[in-house]
Amino acid sequence: MPESAPATARSTRRITPKSIVIWTLVALVGAVGWGVLALSRGEEISAAWVLAAALGSYAIAYRFYSKFIADKVLKVDKTRATPAERLDNGVDFHPTDRRVLFGHHFAAIAGAGPLVGPVLAAQMGYLPGTIWIVAGVIFAGAVQDMVTLFFSTRRDGRSLGQMARDEIGPFGGAAALVAVFAIMIILLAVLALVIVNALAHSPWGVFSIAMTIPIALFMGFYLRILRPGRVTEVSVIGVALLLLAIVSGSWVADSSLADTFTLEPGTLVIWMVVYGFLASVLPVWMLLAPRDYLSTFMKVGTIVLLALGVVIALPNLKMPAVTEFATSGTGPVFAGSLFPFVFITIACGALSGFHALVSSGTTPKMIQKETQVRLVGYGSMLTESFVAIMAVIAACIIEPGLFFAVNSPAGFLGTTVDSASQAVHSLGFSISPEELTAAAKAVEEPTLLSKTGGAPTFALGMSEIFSAVIGGAGLKAFWYHFAIMFEALFILTTVDAGTRVGRFMLQDTLGNVWKPLRDVSWKPGVWLTSAVVVGGWGYFLWVGVHDPLGGINQLFPLFGIANQLLAAVALAVCTTLLIKSGRLKWAWVTAVPLFWDVAVTLTASWQKIFSDDPKVGFFAQRSVYQDGIDAGKVLPPAKSMDDMSTVVTNSTVDGVLSVLFAVLILIVLADATRVCVKAIRNPGTAKLSETPYVESKVVAPAGLWATKEEKAELAAVGAAASSGDGSGPSGDSDGDGDSDGTGGVRVGTGAR
């Protein structure tokens, strides 16, 4: 049964000469940006061209492609009431102003991801990453977010897993569930590894991050006991204390306490695991909720600052456009050639499966109008993509030699600046030992060698940009640690929240076998399942820190594959829904990104499983080191027989996981194909679990700014509303401070 077409005709605006001129200019800006990126080789170019290319493309894509998807493909219906309107309870379900929801949705999807992947991918030059981030978001990532949001909105905000079960079947649904759980474990391990690498041997960093725990506890106490709900007050206090913690980190690093806070990676792993367990079993109000506020404010604030900094400083990109690692696949940061590994490494910012969980979670329960999925879904994702572009810029403005010294595994660089300088030279880049020492000194770190994981590189780039705008070289160390703090803060929040979600899923699943486990208030059950989840990511974290081949090098591809696997699930659900709802003609909108994503993910999995190159293939790696053990030989970078057997165990585990992920993708795809073929052959039999149409009583604009027609509509019902009940969410044009009075008005009904 096809979904009902919108009853009203679309308001077709006539194309004015003015808009033709404006959009031609926007297109020109983008085209000139791409032109400069395409034509300059072997010379430094300004980051301004990257910005022009990205922003020009985003504007065109938003104006034309997302509008096409909303109007032609999804046929969003402004007369249809959203779950927020129908089920409005003032708390979980509530029609929220589109601009506020855009902010909430963006804050929920943007995290450390878009700052890590693009930095690592910079080993292949700035161009591959930039092209994929921009093209990927326009045709895949933003489409996925918007379409998932739309379908979830039509299903009362059902989650991705539920939609997979309802629309594809129990088999595909179960595979999706396993996928989400496995991804959560790998994700948490990789993010924790990023933190551990950034904080190892850094007393300043460790002290600052440690201080966030008492700060969060204080904020939690304040919000729970002293002044409940006063978020603003407590956040102002929290951010002030946080800045103090960053500044005082420098004093601690210079004092006799420095040794106490200088920790080995292995010690940090233990602390992370202990923290992860405690944080996830403590009540939400103590740590998680206040941390969430802190990290959100820090995140949004820093991103805005960074955007301003990049625009004001307009630094030059020092990294080549394309390095030889793009084709040779021998890069030290991660192995493998451009296709498929750039598309695996950069997930968040281009196409991130995780967003489908947010787009099918809180946001669909808050959206005021179906027409707003374009701004909230597509628009927020474009903004995140812009964050990823800034990460590319941050990574590419530092000296390439320094980039490789920071991002190569210790096994390759050795432990001294001399050996590192030589190793970098062997890659075809140059940096002197003195320059390496000076770079570490400038940010007051004992060393910057092998600070893999992306966060330190990003922090270096950010401190470069910020100190160019404010404070000069004197503030470099402060900005570096500010950036580390800001990444660590929200990664720790994710570790806490992710452990809880993993535990919840585990409880839910195991509850089928043994009932008491499902009870979320039964403490022993909570402790047991939390320990399992923490043990899961803790294992990979431990392995990542001790892997002689470099943990990021080994684990990041797995994380990328897992994230893209989730995107495949989301895109498969979207495509199935498009076909089942009679939109076969437009199914390519999500089917093409799905095929691309599957091609990338399966190629990467194939290479990780079957490649003969021991740098790429996990099982090839395993047999090389196993043969070494059998022959009694120690192969570098392993230093002992213990190292050798560590490599063998790790490659086996990683290889088996690659197989698992590939099998999961194939199951979901096969099941979705079955459903789609059935729906195409027999359109009458397709059953949709869509909520029936209810007429909307809310009038609200679709885009960021209200059009002339929308303003007229608002004015017409606004008059009625203010003489009626006057309780519109933000419709009273006098009291709410809403800038232009376009927040949305409920048609006045007098008595309800």
Binding site: G90, V91, D92, H94, T96, D97, R99, V100, G103, A107, A108, I109, A110, G111, A112, G113, S159, L187, L191, L223, R224, P228, G229, R230, V231, T232, S235, P283, V284, W285, L288, A289, D292, Y293, T296, C348, S352, F354, H355, L357, V358, G361, T362, F490, T493, T494, A497, G498, V501, F504, V520, S521, D725, S727, P729, D736, G737, D738, S739, R752
Partner: protein, 62 residues
Amino acid sequence: MNSLAAQVRYWWRELSGEAVYDRYVAHTRACSPDAEILSRRAFERQRMDAREADPREGFRCC
């Protein structure tokens, strides 16, 4: 000047989530005038309990 301050306050309270309680009170008064309205303390506790019970609510991405 006054209206600018009011606007900043409005947007800040909406974005930071501080306005959630006021919204709940307005909603309850409008929809079921007889219902008992929770105090701010009790309301915030209830929200935290809901989050405790289902951690997927308000989950943020990497």
